[in-house]
Symmetry: C2
């Protein structure tokens, strides 16, 4: 080796010892005139500056609210800070994601539980996240989310923001009306979507009415275990309407759930045979059906064993539901999307996208109509239909394409208008009436949004105690709002300030969403969440949320051969793995346990192995076990894939697989 | 069917006909006092307001710069607008991503080209994005990115921001010093990282010096085809140092490339056997080696056939490189990361993380030293080492952990300081000296960043004409900057305003990155990009970037059976697929072509099939072909997974697979 040693005289130890000097970062005192000058140069109005002042977050200042947004067909969940509208994290759920190691070394068992008939389905179409609730209010402990494409439900632990369970619905193929929780998170509700023969059985479309069915599944949640308790869950068979959104009753409507539906026409499409396409057939009638289900009574029926096992799962059949008085229908404006229960549980608001009104049902009237059997008839399956006029509280004309409703703390309701591309503010009546200066059941104002708004979310806007302040319009199209990154444009989350009453409801931020197509989001006060920043102990298994007795610890690192199995017990700490050399023979099975023995916040290590499709993200304290057969001979440099220190590049080793 | 028709009297046709009424969105004129009141209530200083005014983007206003950031071990590329620091899009590259359909119906051939030995490696560790250049300036046409874990290079077309090609390096297993392009994008450079036996051959670590080798690969880029031309590409064998970052010369240094290295010690680790771990062994010597390669001469050597085919790939061996005078070394401060060529090509700046200086080499002196053979010796492999003092221009002491350097338009250079968690501004000398008020080769100021800054990026800061204005610190740790979404914290991209000279260099925005761990980014003026917002014609194949003669068109939809193969020709338009019923027999092969026949911007349709792991994103005009065997009998509702219209939920159909 040659090369002068005349430069770089600092030693590593010396470098560590040198105290970091005072920063010479210079700023002079800023005046408001400086601000106005910049605004002028950039073409910002005072309204723009006001919006900036409302949303800008100086370095280190924390967001007041956290939004949990579905990721649509990305299959993930997004965590967004508000009001800054910054994406804090993607949580891998149904789709493998290597930054988090999900499906690339850990999470395989969780993902596999969501496979269908043993064949991997490794993406999801996440729609409706639901935060766990206590007495109808978010408690910040769990998050649930559905997958529309394969009718699955996932459970996320809000201590570490990781997916702990995926459950595949054994009956329906697709879902939509989920997830929603009952007020104490007794159940996680999963309503179906497209009617099909259950369990993916085959039946031609000509047998639609006889063999295709709808469903709603009541997944029992075990809060202590942090898992859906499949053994104590059940489903209700429903007519082959396409059940859509659902919501759980609370307070005045506690014990009930509500599902709306499309295609009460039972249209079967067939454009290729010159029949009306689904879009026409499904929208033919002026009304669809709101489903009203007494889940507390249904739970008793289930517990009494009045179920049929279908595809191995307990099902309350339509006949039983009718006989036991569990299920009622009532007409609702056609092509409905949102069914939303008001904060006190007394009103149920339905938006039919092809009707300019929102339709408000009274829970008290529904209960009376059920008690007095005020039916306008029965549907083709014998389900009693509550007389519309007997259960109607009000209708409010808002505009074109009402889609989804959220609530403020003060008697205002907010409804997205898809065709208008606007968000409407309107007043509730009843006991909410005194909260607003405007008359009951009145449109107050509309704020244009850009464009094609789907759901909306208010801060805690679907709980018993909405916070108001912020509303987010989840716009499906952005068109001209952002620089176009090719033909696939981002969606646009627009933040609206709803603090003022009356007509003042400005858009204050446009957030592009270019990592998926979110469908719905829930927004929780940040201080209700208590996430871990490091795992509670060294050797923590995030799947069991407990210390793993097999976890490698410092000074216990080793390699043990047991026949054709090589067990590696490895630790990771800045900036080395121990051991660094792993030598095995081709065909050996490797059981590789690694613990990140760091205790500092943010001291994450990755673990990446070439050609074996492996990457782990090991948060401080976390342990993981990976197993694979060393079926490829060669010399493979593994390394830490998370930039952890100045010597991060040196944190590596060699896996040597000797050919047989 | 029963149910009253007394509500929702609007017909669909009527709804479409109604003009959207004027919005009643109310705002009153805002004053600067309103702004100050909000700022006061939120605890914002005037400096904060100034930062807000510099970064806030009113709805519809477009960002001035676009940043292309690697996604680290997410395997993707992120597109970020500046100065708003909003994530506009993730581009799927090495990792399947269902929102974009990547790997879930399209992209399979591209991804498969990056497989190793026929075994899928379906994630990447993206490090250094490189925009295509013309005369050393970004031209906005192509983007390249490397994958460190499996030594691959991807090509992204900036017309549609989609990945078109993945190339697997046949020699090295891991790469780092790439991608970088020569000034006219003649070549895309991929420097290796960890020395290994090439082609993933097996050799024990004890044979390190003999059998492990480094490399740099010169991938020829065919701009007309938009593909790397593998046939006209070649590699240079290098000593088994861990080649690290690289950069291409330009102007004064045109024709050269520069790679730095770690582990000129050829340490082999072995902590498990009480040997010094890699982190110690690799950092033992005071210097490593900067590699200086005359690529124009190397190209001639390659074209003259003076190569060996190794693993089927043409390689200029070390002996040939030495004999032909292609390769020189010179000492550089140890543990270097950045090697960065100044805008005029005259200076090469190296940052050694364990030395407090940046070291500046003169290209003119390097050329003179080569010409006059001013060698201080040879390395163990016979490579001549240029005398350090003969090629040194200057050293500037900046602080702890210098990592990566970028340039402004005015003679300032900027270097990240990993251990200081700061960004240093310093002055260049030579012909740049007159641009700055401060003396040449002087530290001007440091701005603290939060925390552990890796690379930095300036607007066009590595081209022949840097723009200045903005610098982004790609901080690896965020620690306390954001609400913690569990133990896996986001990274922190901090935007720094570098408009003013001297000591004024404030952080004006903190952007959390919670979707991957970006390593480096390049920042281009937005108006240099010309993305398509819809594909040029109906039936466009994004892979070939041409019209597909097989693409289904309106009125040509059909299903054709050919033996056991069923060919579906389907169109998608708001809000139906045609055909809607697809009936096949179990075991049939389905060749399914779908065209999105929309021409409106943002009118994207998805196409999702349950239980077959399929999701497509079809942008306006796009056609796609998917092929699969209908090996699962059943009735499967397929649907549009992108919320496209008020009747989006109705955009579906049934795939019926009849059991045999």
């Amino acid at each position: 080796m040659s090369g002068p040693a005349t430069i770089g005289r600092c030693t590593w130890a010396l470098l560590l010892a040198i105290a970091i000097g005072a920063a010479t970062h210079g700023t002079h005192a800023q005046s408001i005139t400086d601000v106005q000058n910049v605004a002028k140069a950039r073409g910002l109005t005072n309204a723009d500056l006001l919006a900036a002042a409302k949303t800008f977050m100086p370095s280190g200042q924390k967001d007041e609210y956290i939004m949990f947004s579905s990721g649509g067909h990305s299959g993930q969940v997004f965590v967004i800070g508000m009001p800054s509208m910054r994406l804090l994290r993607s949580i891998a759920v149904f789709t493998p994601e290597p930054w988090q190691g999900w499906g690339y070394g850990v999470g395989e068992e969780v993902l596999a539980a969501g496979d269908v008939a043993g064949k991997p389905n490794r993406w999801g179409d996440t729609h409706h996240p639901a935060l766990s609730e206590t007495k109808g209010d978010y408690d910040g402990q769990w998050l649930f989310i559905n997958d529309k494409i394969n009718a699955r439900v996932a459970v996320i632990d809000l201590r570490d923001f990781e997916t702990k369970q995926i459950v595949k619905n054994p009956l329906t193929i697709s879902d939509h009306g989920g997830t929603f929780v009952t007020p104490d998170t007794e159940y996680v509700i999963e309503g179906g979507q497209y009617a099909t023969p259950w369990g993916a059985d085959y039946a031609p479309i000509s047998e639609y009415k006889e063999k295709y069915r709808g469903s709603v599944t009541m997944w029992k949640f075990n809060r202590k275990k942090g898992r859906i308790d499949i053994e104590n869950s059940f489903a209700l068979q429903l007519p082959p309407y396409w059940q859509d959104l659902s919501d759980a009753g609370k307070l005045a409507s506690d014990g009930y759930i509500f599902l709306n539906s499309l295609n009460s026409e039972m249209a079967t499409g067939g454009i290729q045979d010159k029949k009306p396409p689904f879009e026409a057939g499904v929208s033919r009638n002026a009304t669809d059906y709101l489903h009203i289900i007494d889940w507390k009574k249904a739970e008793k029926v289930f517990k009494a064993g009045k179920v049929e096992k279908i595809k191995g799962f307990p099902v309350i059949t339509l006949d039983t539901s009718i006989a036991e008085g569990l299920l009622y229908l009532t007409p609702e404006p056609r092509s409905p999307h949102g069914v939303d229960v008001a904060p006190r549980g007394d009103f149920i608001v339905v938006s039919g996208k092809l009707d300019p009104h929102v339709t408000i049902y009274s829970m008290q009237k529904i209960k009376s109509a059920i008690a007095s059997k005020k039916f306008s008839g029965k549907d083709d399956f014998g389900v009693p239909i509550l007389d519309f006029d007997a259960v109607l509280e009000a209708q409010v004309e808002l505009g074109l394409g009402p889609l989804h409703t959220q609530f403020g703390p003060d008697g205002y309701a907010y409804t997205s208008l898809f065709l208008d591309s606007a968000v409407a503010r309107w007043t509730l009546g009843g006991t909410y009436g005194s909260g607003t200066p405007e008359p009951d059941w009145t449109l107050v104002t509309k704020t244009p949004v850009h464009y094609n708004v789907g759901h909306i979310g208010c801060a805690e806007g679907d709980t018993v105690s909405p916070d108001g302040k912020y509303l987010v319009a989840f716009n499906k199209w952005s068109v001209d709002r952002f620089f176009p990154p090719g033909p696939l444009l981002p969606q646009n989350f627009q933040l609206i300030d709803i603090t003022a009453s009356g007509a003042t409801m400005p858009v204050i931020y446009d957030m592009p969403i270019g990592v998926g197509e979110p469908h719905y989001a829930q927004i929780i006060k940040a201080d209700k969440l208590n996430p871990w920043t490091v795992y509670p102990g060294i050797g923590w298994d995030p799947h069991t949320q407990s210390l793993d007795p097999w976890a490698p610890k410092a000074k216990m690192e080793r390699i043990e051969r047991k026949g054709d199995t090589v067990e590696v017990y490895m630790t990771a700490i800045r900036s080395h793995f121990n051991p660094e050399h792993i030598t095995v023979k081709e065909g050996d099975k490797i059981v590789w346990r690694i613990t990140n023995i760091e205790r500092a916040i943010d001291a994450v290590h990755g673990f990446a192995v070439p050609q074996y499709n492996i990457n782990l993200s090991l948060e401080p304290g976390e342990t993981a076990k990976i197993e694979f057969v060393a079926d490829r001979p060669g010399t493979f440099p593994f390394y830490c894939s998370e930039f952890c220190s100045a010597l991060h590049l040196e944190m590596m080793g060699y896996l040597m697989v000797e050919p047989r």
